[in-house]
Amino acid sequence: MNYIESLLPESIKSIPTHMDFDGQRRAERYFQVIIVLYAIVGFVWGYATQSFSQTLYILFAGVFLSSVLTLVPWKMYRSQPLQWQPARVEQDSATPSPPAVTGNPGSQSKSKKKKIKE
């Protein structure tokens, strides 16, 4: 899969396919609401016509609608991107970094620095 992706032209690779966190939350809520609404309507209609298959057909219509609305990463699910902290400016790269006190100097020390900055 990764090999195929590397063959794609840049114009296709640059199409955004992600949802932001808020978009994911809304997508899940949308399909739940749509499917439950269609299920209720289908139940009432199926009871009125005394045909359970009608209930299921109406439910499947709701499933199709919510698939189109929420499976595809539409632009409206990218409206609230994460606000990252601005990149920290390196003060002086000449001085060697102090010896690591903790065992893991990687992410841990970085997050400590971030907190100090905040």
């Binding site: 396919t17 992600h18 949802m19 994911q24 939350r25 997508a27 899940e28 399909f31 739940q32 499917i35 439950v36 299920a39 289908g42 139940f43 199926g46 009871y47 016509t49 005394q50 045909s51 359970f52 209930t55 299921l56 439910l59 499933v63 919510s66 698939s67 929420t70 499976l71 595809v72 990463p73």
Partner: protein, 179 residues
């Protein structure tokens, strides 16, 4: 929810849960139906022969012959949770050896959409009316009843005895010859 496939998975799983809930709701709307209907039964010709039962012990046993009339309208039983009805006509009687003998004489499947009004005249039985011995000759109290199984989309499988029966009186003499 971060990728197409994970959204597809949760949407599909949610759909299945909703379908299960709908099916259970369908069952709940029909759970209190008694599925009971009146049945008019009567018999025409009644005779009994004494012939060897080669399918059993080869001894001479009583074999009853009846023709029956049946009228019933089963359409109120059908609802959105009924796929088909399995009807069966039984004869019940008491003999010296057994207090309850049951013989299925005829059956029929009525599917959803079939004609639900049954009106049979001088119908023959589908299955032989064998007794395990000589319990039919002169038997004054053989009860014909129509019963049915209701086969649902979801839920229980009720077995209902139709309201109405008919008493057959068998003759005191065996019929000789073919019939």
């Amino acid at each position: 929810m971060n990728s197409f496939t994970s959204r597809l998975n949760s949407l599909f799983a949610f759909t299945l849960s909703v379908m299960a809930a709908l099916t259970f709701g369908c069952f709940l709307t029909t759970v209190f139906n008694d599925n009971l209907r009146p049945v008019e039964l009567s018999v025409g010709k009644v005779s009994v022969k004494n012939v060897p039962d080669y399918s059993a012990d080869r001894d001479k046993s009583d074999l009853g012959f009846i023709t029956f009339d049946l009228f019933t309208d089963l359409s109120p039983i059908f609802n959105w949770n009924v796929k088909q009805l399995f009807l069966y006509l039984t004869a019940e009687y008491e003999t010296k050896d057994h207090t309850l003998n049951q013989v299925v004489l005829w059956d029929k499947i009525i599917e959803r959409g079939d004609n639900t009004i049954l009106d049979l005249r001088k119908a023959n039985t589908k299955y032989y009316f064998w007794d395990y011995g000589n319990g039919l000759k002169g038997n004054q109290n053989v009860t014909l009843t129509l019963s049915w199984n209701v086969i649902p989309n979801a839920g229980t499988l009720p077995k209902v005895r139709g309201f109405g029966s008919h008493k057959i009186v068998f003759p005191e003499q065996y019929t000789a010859g073919r019939f």
